[in-house]
């Protein structure tokens, strides 16, 4: 019997929740779950408010099982998870800002997403950064507006000369109110909103949203749509990984690598535009299936590009490996230990470069990945170099996956009809984006509209780890470490 099973058996199951069970638990079981999290027996997947209830998604890694436990908040309060399990801290601070529920015993009660811009009071309150005292320490404030064209986020470094003593992030500048917009929206609008949470992961988000809706309604997407979705997802992963490999090198001022990688990425985007009508394949995945088909010519173009990348990529890997000055920058920079990666349930290349082998395509295999052969590369070192290598290996895996998917693409329809739910139904999905696992949970009302939808970006558990990874490094290495994490601002700020 796994830990999660024990928890789930003690609660009252929700009537329609798919594909994994959700149970309403009492305070004792909630506290027990927190202890299991703190003890490292369970991994936190998500924590979100729903009117006067909090839901917590849990992953039992050894058993490869997922479950959601819910607690009704008595008087708008509930026992804080972050009190004993720090990975929940930012989720709870955001939850407090967005829902008004109070996590009892929350160690840090400063607002997180709320910058004082929404309420009647237009003056943002002073944000107290954590104190850091000692001889010779001084602060360096960076952002939210940066010298380059990147997303906004504030970084407060406390440094001793060049050495970083502490980094504190402040995010929330790109809050768009996505979850509030979702409430009451129809499914088409919901899919569009989901695809706009984080632009570089638009396929992953749309896929997660579509799968959650399909789970709630008990619909199965047609086989051709399932394969086309995987094709888009892998194409997105490839384009982003290629871009990232170049960008990491660019942050070490090795521009040659970026020049080559950027060309490959651009060619991928152009082929995607020809094949699916959008460079980033936005709004191509909808609940029930896909809106764009792949014709023979586009499939051939994809195959040719993959073959060409296969020819060119090894030379780039060799260039990366044999440039001593570049290796000097990436090896041992920004170390992230395996304990932290496991505690935070870090997904994607961040987790897999620190020895956490979790990949939702494998651990919680969803179609068509249950029928495709691929490896999940894992590196134990946890430095910038390892995060680059995870990407390199994943590029190789994804190239093979694209070839296999195009070859095995079944014929048939692109969309299944969606029935009216008739009663409230809930669904969730965990989808592997290029950054890590995207979690979408939603409840549909009896009228088929979205009653509540929560979208959790993998960056929620990666941003705090960046703070840990940079500690003890020099300030000048931060951009390199930051790029190797490449967390999403937009996906995190919602």
């Amino acid at each position: 019997m796994s830990t999660l099973d024990d928890l789930l058996r003690g609660g009252r199951p929700a009537s329609h929740h798919a594909p994994w069970p959700r149970v309403t638990v009492d305070r004792a079981a909630w506290d027990a779950a927190i202890e299991q999290l703190a003890g490292g027996h369970l991994t936190l997947l998500g924590l979100w408010p729903d009117a006067a209830t909090v839901h917590m998604a849990l992953l039992d890694e050894p058993a490869q099982a997922v479950g959601v436990i819910s607690l009704a908040c008595d008087g708008g309060r509930y026992p804080s998870v972050a009190r004993l399990h720090p990975p929940a801290l930012r989720l709870e601070r955001a939850l407090r800002d967005l829902s008004g529920l109070i996590p009892d015993g929350l160690p840090d009660t400063r607002p997180w997403l709320d910058h004082g811009q929404w309420g009647p009071n237009p003056e943002p309150p002073d944000y107290a950064f954590l104190p850091c005292e000692g001889e010779g320490l001084h602060q360096v404030a960076v952002g939210p507006v940066h010298a380059g064209i990147i997303e906004p986020g504030h970084f407060r470094f406390t440094v001793n000369g060049e050495t970083v003593v502490r980094l504190e992030q402040r995010l929330g500048y790109t809050h768009k109110g996505t979850e509030a917009l979702m409430a009451g929206a129809d499914l088409a609008t919901g899919a569009r909103l989901a695809g706009r949470v984080s632009g570089d992961s638009t396929v992953a988000y749309a896929l997660a949203f579509a799968r959650a809706v399909e789970a709630a309604l008990g619909v199965i997407a047609p086989p051709r749509a399932v394969f086309l979705r995987a094709l888009m997802a892998e194409w997105e992963r490839l384009a982003n990984h290629l871009g990232d490999i170049g960008a990491v090198c660019n942050d070490a001022s090795f521009v040659l690598m970026q020049a080559h990688c950027a060309i490959l990425r651009e060619r991928m985007l152009r082929v995607a535009a020809d094949a699916f009508g959008h460079r980033l394949m936005r709004d191509r995945i909808v609940p029930g299936g896909v809106t764009a088909d792949l014709d023979a010519a586009a499939g051939q173009a994809m195959r040719e590009l993959v073959a060409d990348i296969r020819r060119r990529f090894p030379a780039l890997v060799e260039l990366y490996e044999n440039t001593a000055s570049l290796q000097d920058r990436t090896v041992t920079a920004g170390m992230l230990g395996p304990e932290l990666a496991r505690q935070y349930g870090a997904g994607g290349y961040v987790g897999r470069a620190s020895g956490r082998p979790f990949d939702s395509r494998r651990a919680l295999a969803y179609p068509p990945y249950d029928r495709l052969a691929f490896d999940v590369p894992v590196f134990p070192e946890g430095d910038v170099n390892a995060r680059v290598w995870v990407r390199i290996r994943e590029v190789e895996q994804s190239l093979a996956l694209v070839e296999e998917i195009v070859d095995r693409l079944p014929r048939g329809t692109l969309r299944a009809d969606l029935p009216q739910p008739g009663e409230p139904r809930e669904g969730m999905a965990l989808v592997e984006g290029f950054r890590g696992d995207v979690l979408v949970w939603l409840r549909l009302g009896a009228d088929g509209r979205i009653a509540r939808c929560s979208l959790r970006d993998p960056s929620w558990f990666q941003w705090p780890l960046l703070e840990a990874a940079i500690k003890g490094n020099i300030v000048a290495d931060f951009p390199l470490c930051n790029k190797s994490f490449n967390c999403s601002y937009s996906g995190h700020d919602l």
């Binding site: 602060q139 360096v140 060049e162 942050d251 001022s253 521009v255 020049a259 080559h260 000097d328 920058r329």
Partner: protein, 316 residues
């Protein structure tokens, strides 16, 4: 006498006019090496013109130093550049100032720039200034030792004399000169904020050295500083060309044709130097900030060894 003054005047105008072109050329060459089209060769001139016409934004707490220093830095760099024989030896000013004066001029320009960086009190200015000084503490002695090596060989710290001696054919191949050349190139890379020490094209505030110091400058002040940086690149390249490839320099009292030939060859040398620079830059990543002392330490040791070898044997 009038001819000498004229040559000096041409020299001063030439370095000022050529400096943005050299920067434009390196940017273009680098872009081509990276398979990009790159900005037009004349873009740096346009940038300077644009900056000159723009409003200069000053921080509230900027002192008079902050406003004066761009002109100081520019003037010091320009004078230093004017002292280096580019196409002709026998410059009028050349007799009043030698290599040590050039080092001193550049040193004071750097000192004032670091002062301006700290004047506003932003953290980036402080970071940039402290990194620049860390680099300077090693680059300046290395530069001086190189000067001493040259002076020991040529018997003078006066650049026209050094150039005349080096082109006289009596020098031959010398280990100490080779070491001095490598050291001087390393110093030049560090001093001009090029990869692997600094990246002139970066947008990452936290990794900047030179750019971090001038982050608060705008308008005509920024134009002065940018032009000074371009002049500095030209200066170092001219210095290396003047000392180690002095064959095309027109001696005092030559005809117009000799001067013209000297000028054309000088532009050619700059082009070759600029190309070699970007070729080196594209093949290497930037080093960690704390590796820079190792890099410059090597330059310092090389120049020291070069000078010591000369004491051991006059022919090495």
């Amino acid at each position: 006498m009038i001819a000498d003054l004229l040559i000096q005047g041409v020299q001063m105008a030439l370095v000022l006019l050529l400096a943005p072109l050299l920067t434009g050329f390196t940017r273009k060459a680098k872009a081509r090496l990276l398979m990009r089209r790159g900005p037009p060769l004349l873009q740096p001139y346009r940038d300077l013109w644009r900056l000159l016409r723009k409003e200069a934004v000053l921080a509230d707490n900027a002192s008079w130093l902050f406003r004066v220093i761009p002109y100081l830095v520019f003037a010091a760099t320009w004078v230093a550049a004017a002292l280096i024989p580019t196409f002709a030896t026998g410059l009028t000013f050349s007799w009043t100032a030698d290599l040590i004066a050039i080092v001193a001029l550049l040193g004071s320009a750097r000192f004032f720039l670091a002062l301006a960086a700290m004047d506003i009190g932003t953290s980036f200015g402080g970071i940039g200034a402290s990194r620049e000084m860390m680099i300077a503490t090693l680059a300046e002695p290395a530069m001086l030792l190189t000067v001493f090596t040259l002076a020991l060989v040529a018997g003078s710290t006066q650049l026209s004399t050094v150039a005349a001696f080096m082109s006289s054919g009596t020098v031959g191949l010398r280990v100490s000169l080779g070491m001095a050349m490598v050291a001087l190139i390393m110093v030049a890379i560090a001093e001009n904020a090029r990869i692997p020490v600094d990246n002139p094209a970066t947008h990452l505030e936290l990794t900047m050295v030179h750019e971090a110091m001038v982050l608060e400058y705008s308008g005509r002040h920024l134009a002065m500083i940018e032009l000074a940086a371009m002049l500095k690149l030209l200066l170092y390249m001219s210095l290396i060309a003047c000392v180690f490839t002095p064959w095309s320099l027109a001696p005092t009292g030559s005809g117009v044709r000799a001067y013209l030939a000297g000028g054309v060859l000088y532009v050619g040398k700059l082009a070759v130097g600029g190309f070699l620079l970007v070729l080196f830059e594209t093949s290497i990543a930037k080093m960690r900030v704390f590796r820079v002392p190792d890099f410059l330490g090597a330059a310092l040791m090389l120049s020291l060894l070069g000078a010591l070898l000369l004491f051991v044997s006059r022919s090495l």
